[in-house]
């Protein structure tokens, strides 16, 4: 699955995008975040406080309990600050 990171989430993970093979048992966005947190110290920092991270599944905003089944692209980023 393609995982993307933006803004300070990316600054922590050190990469903007990675292809990750996920274990079958991951169900939700929250499961995925906990799994990704184990990839590096930077990833751990990025996901240290999940309340500070927003997620989009296939470019649509999603909640932490949303299912990741069938998704092709999941993105993690801080709360938006445009406009």
């Amino acid at each position: 699955m393609k995982i993307r990171y933006f803004a300070w989430v990316r600054d922590h993970t050190g990469c903007a995008e990675e292809d990750v093979s996920l274990p079958e048992e991951l169900e939700s966005v929250a499961d995925l975040a906990r799994y990704l947190a184990g990839r590096s110290d930077g990833h751990a920092k990025a996901f240290a406080d999940l309340k500070k991270v927003r997620v989009a599944i296939d470019q649509q905003f999603a909640a932490p309990h949303a299912s990741i089944k069938g998704a092709s692209e999941i993105a993690f980023f801080p709360p938006v600050t445009g406009g």
């Binding site: 933006f6 600050t81 445009g82 406009g83």
Partner: protein, 140 residues
């Protein structure tokens, strides 16, 4: 009727409003957001705006659809810049036209509010102390 652009390119408010001119539309409202220095010691050097290409345009499109369904607009233009911007530079334009000024004011305000909360843009400030990771600006 709807025009949406997300790019590094600057815009001309004059040209955008001219593009909205229409014999039946007497009211045009536009919002221009500029890089604001909200740091306590006023030492903002620049702002860098990044976004989520694809998702940004789709979100803005949804917001524009919602506004067009709710108010009788004859035209609507949203331009959002990305990249590195200096203080006072233009960041965002929302311009709408309608036969009625109340509809034009309400629609432009609505679009701006949703842009702020729903469109995946992130600001990072550069001050003389360095870059602040995604701290962004306080709300306008």
């Amino acid at each position: 009727m709807k025009f949406i652009r997300v790019s590094e390119e600057d815009f001309s408010v004059e040209a955008e409003l001219a593009a909205l001119a229409d014999r039946r539309a007497g009211a045009q409202v536009c919002f221009v957001g500029r890089v604001r220095d909200s740091s306590p010691d006023a030492d903002l050097q620049a702002l860098t705006l990044e976004h989520y290409p694809g998702m940004t345009e789709a979100e803005i499109g949804r917001i524009a659809e919602a506004a067009a369904a709710r108010w009788p607009l004859t035209g609507l233009r949203v331009i959002h810049r990305v990249g590195r911007l200096l203080p006072e530079e233009q960041i965002v334009l929302v311009a709408v036209a309608s036969a009625h000024r109340k509809a034009a004011f309400e629609a432009a305000h609505f679009i701006m509010d949703y842009l702020k909360t729903e469109a995946p843009f992130w600001k990072a400030e550069e001050t003389s102390e360095g870059r602040q990771l995604g701290r962004g600006q306080r709300r306008r």
